[in-house]
């Protein structure tokens, strides 16, 4: 079907394959350039003699308040993490609000408070912003956009490019996967699961800095929308190397596991907001793992897989019973199954 006959579907915003098709079919086509075409979470820019990491993200989460955070905290963490995983230290943040007419002041205040407190925690300064109010029904309560810049040390410039990956390199994650996606879904939908699953929403820049100051990291990315599966697939196809993940090593909260079983979801496809995937040489990886485990945001860190020479460009999961399966990117929205 020709593009002009099609409409945007929700799946086009899910972070999976449909969104990638949209980006390359429309955005890259019209304003692609050398920097944008890298399609990293942050653009790496040379300004004078400095290297800068620059990124932006919009937050349209429903509900605005969820176990473990709210849209304000998320708007800081999301952008801070995108800068941090590019290897840079986040410095300055812009915040723009699109507010629906009739939105309660006290809620806005709460959101602004957590925005401020998270920015303080992350050590990033909010330096500019914008406010728009739209007619009732023209947006859903409140949308926030943030953009941020960070300083990138020369030695970390290659991290988002995944240049030197080799067979045997280990893949590390700093804790349970899927918490954010399911905590939000549980708050939004009418399941009434009695679970204590909370969003993992957190700024990771201090923890990442500790790692980068001490050990060489080959690649980093935060597995947000589309989950670990989507990041791993992007990495495999970018490097044309194989990735093998081990199901029994994936840290997954019991409640998340149970909700996934009931709804037919794969935790590998579910969004995280306080997780980073790190690829490093095995020897360094073990030290990084120890360091992460000492951090409050990395207590449940684990090596979840390795780079392999087999099945180039593909991600394979070895399961507990010895079976193997291909792990695909998320296609569109995750759809709960009927039975």
């Amino acid at each position: 079907m020709k593009l002009k006959e099609r409409n945007i579907l929700l799946g086009h915003g899910s972070g999976g394959r449909m969104m990638h098709e949209l980006i390359s079919d429309v955005f890259i086509k019209h304003f692609g350039n050398e920097i944008l075409n890298e399609q990293s979470d942050s653009a790496i820019l040379s300004v004078g003699s400095s290297e800068i990491s620059f990124t932006t993200d919009s937050f349209v989460i429903d509900p605005l308040f969820f176990p473990g955070g709210n849209i304000g905290k998320l708007a800081v963490c999301g952008t801070v993490n995108d800068i941090a995983v590019s290897g840079a230290e986040p410095l300055y943040l812009s915040v723009s609000f699109i507010i629906e007419e009739g939105f309660p002041f006290n809620q806005l205040e709460l959101i602004a408070e957590s925005l401020a407190s998270e920015a303080k925690k992350a050590g990033i300064l909010i330096v500019t912003g914008d406010t728009k109010v739209v007619n009732k029904g023209k947006c859903d309560k409140l949308f926030i956009n943030t953009a941020g810049i960070g300083r990138l040390k020369m030695k970390n410039r290659y991290i988002s490019k995944a240049l030197n990956l080799r067979e045997g390199d280990v893949i590390i994650i700093n804790g349970n996967i899927g918490d954010h996606g399911l905590a939000v879904m549980n708050a939004r939908e009418s399941f009434n699961f009695k679970t204590l699953v909370e969003s993992d929403c957190a700024s990771l820049n201090h923890m990442i800095k500790e790692v980068l100051d001490k050990y060489p990291v080959k690649f980093m990315r935060d597995p947000t929308r589309g989950g670990v599966a989507t990041v791993m697939n992007e990495l495999a196809s970018k490097t044309n190397l194989g990735i093998e993940l081990s199901e029994s090593d994936l840290p997954v909260n019991k409640g998340v596991k149970a909700m996934c079983e009931i709804l037919g979801f794969d935790p590998l496809h579910i969004a995280n907001e306080g997780k980073v995937l790190i690829v490093a040489e095995e020897k360094e990886g073990l030290k990084i793992l120890d360091l992460l485990k000492k951090n409050i945001l990395g207590k449940k860190s684990a090596i979840i897989g390795r780079i392999v020479n087999e099945h180039p460009g593909k991600v394979v999961l070895r399961n507990e019973t010895g079976g193997r399966r291909i792990v695909d990117s998320l296609t569109g929205d995750q759809l709960p199954r009927i039975c």
Binding site: S190, F191, K257, T331, C339
Partner: protein, 359 residues
């Protein structure tokens, strides 16, 4: 996780596989009817644990996949009636009708909402008294009792803007139809949750008249391996019969209350299955007593007969005659992001399962 981990233990699964290899000599073909079984078999790589004389084929047990194109087309026609809210289970939303899908209609402006239970639709109806809410009732004996209970509740509470478009189906007629059509199998791995509702008597004919083994199985790898072992024992001893492997959930009498609900609200009728055509007595239509909740009785839409997409072999796949790998569209023109046939849409469709777990 309780009730999951203990049935995924590697040692247990491997020991059942060993028993199976020790006793099984005959060449046998078993059909797993339920989409949930197909998923589990591929997810845990069970086929590779079976001896080479036992082959598993997938049957027509994915409710989304067997919903006819006409049903989807009708649902979309209803969604275009002004003042209508369509409520549906999530995995129906991407199923292609003859020209579009519910997902695309939603983007074009129709009010189509995903619900997790039939009862949720009733809440939506209560909250939107000026609109008509039509719930798309799909699924087998597993989901149909919940639809029935919702209709009864709507009647009791005199909610007049709630309707159901029923494409609910029942399992036994299609299993019988496949056997009568000559699909070559020796036994069925029968659906655990359908049988939890119906009880096992629905399979008696398959064993006594057609000489097939029937074992009702759970959905974890150890369950399925044990079900295959039980069927293999039946085949080796030449004594096909109906047995329950999934005893922690299924009672041979089934769930009497759910059966009564089904009987109160629905009546069996001929129904059309995607790829399989019309199967006598295989559908559940809403009884006259409840016709004020029957969308088909209350609204007229004009939907032309539709043709199945070219090149799609869903029908033969649902019959177990072919596998997705036999299809020229598979993983090329037809993938989860661009499904041609229904078997690719639902996570439990045979094609989607093969796609996800292909190696």
């Amino acid at each position: 996780m309780k009730f999951v981990d203990e049935y995924r233990k590697k040692d247990l699964i491997l020991s059942v596989a060993e028993n199976l290899r020790a006793i099984s000599r005959k060449e046998i073909i078993l059909m797993e009817v339920c989409g949930g079984h197909t998923m589990a078999i591929h997810r845990f790589g069970l086929a590779s644990l079976l001896p080479s004389n036992i082959r598993l084929i997938s049957g027509p047990g994915c409710p989304v996949c067997v919903s006819s194109q006409l049903f989807i087309d009708k649902a979309m026609a209803y969604s275009k009636i002004p003042g209508t809210i369509i409520t549906t289970y999530g995995d129906l939303i991407r199923v292609p009708g003859s020209s579009t899908s519910l997902e695309k209609e939603r983007a074009a402006g129709s009010d189509i909402r995903i619900v997790y239970s039939a009862l949720e639709s009733l809440e939506i109806a209560r909250g939107n008294p000026e609109k008509n809410v039509i719930f798309l009732g799909i699924g087998f004996e597993t989901t149909a009792p919940a639809t029935a209970a919702t209709i009864i509740k709507a009647k009791k509470e005199k909610i007049s803007n709630f309707f159901v478009l029923s494409a609910h189906k029942v399992m036994p007629p299609v299993m019988k139809a496949l056997v009568e059509e000559g699909v070559k199998i020796n036994g069925f791995i029968a659906p655990g949750h359908v049988t939890a509702i119906t009880g096992t008597s629905i399979y008696n004919d398959l064993a006594s008249v057609y000489g097939l083994g029937v074992v009702v199985s759970g959905f974890e790898p150890a369950d399925l391996m044990q079900a295959v072992l039980m069927l293999a024992i039946q085949m080796e001893s030449g004594t096909p019969k109906v047995e329950i492997q999934y005893q922690r959930v299924v009672h041979y009498k089934g769930n009497i209350i759910a059966q009564q609900l089904l009987d109160e609200v629905f009546v069996h009728s001929d129904d059309s299955w995607r790829g399989l055509g019309m199967i006598p007595d295989s559908g559940l239509k809403i009884r006259e007593n409840f016709s004020s909740f029957d969308a088909e009785k209350q609204f007229t839409v004009n939907v032309p007969e539709s043709v199945e997409p070219k090149g799609c072999i869903c029908g033969q796949i649902l019959r177990g005659i072919k596998t997705p790998e036999d299809c020229t569209l598979f993983a090329k023109k037809c993938s989860p992001s661009h499904p041609v046939g229904a078997c690719m849409v639902s996570a439990e469709g045979t094609c989607a399962t093969y796609y996800k777990y292909r190696s």
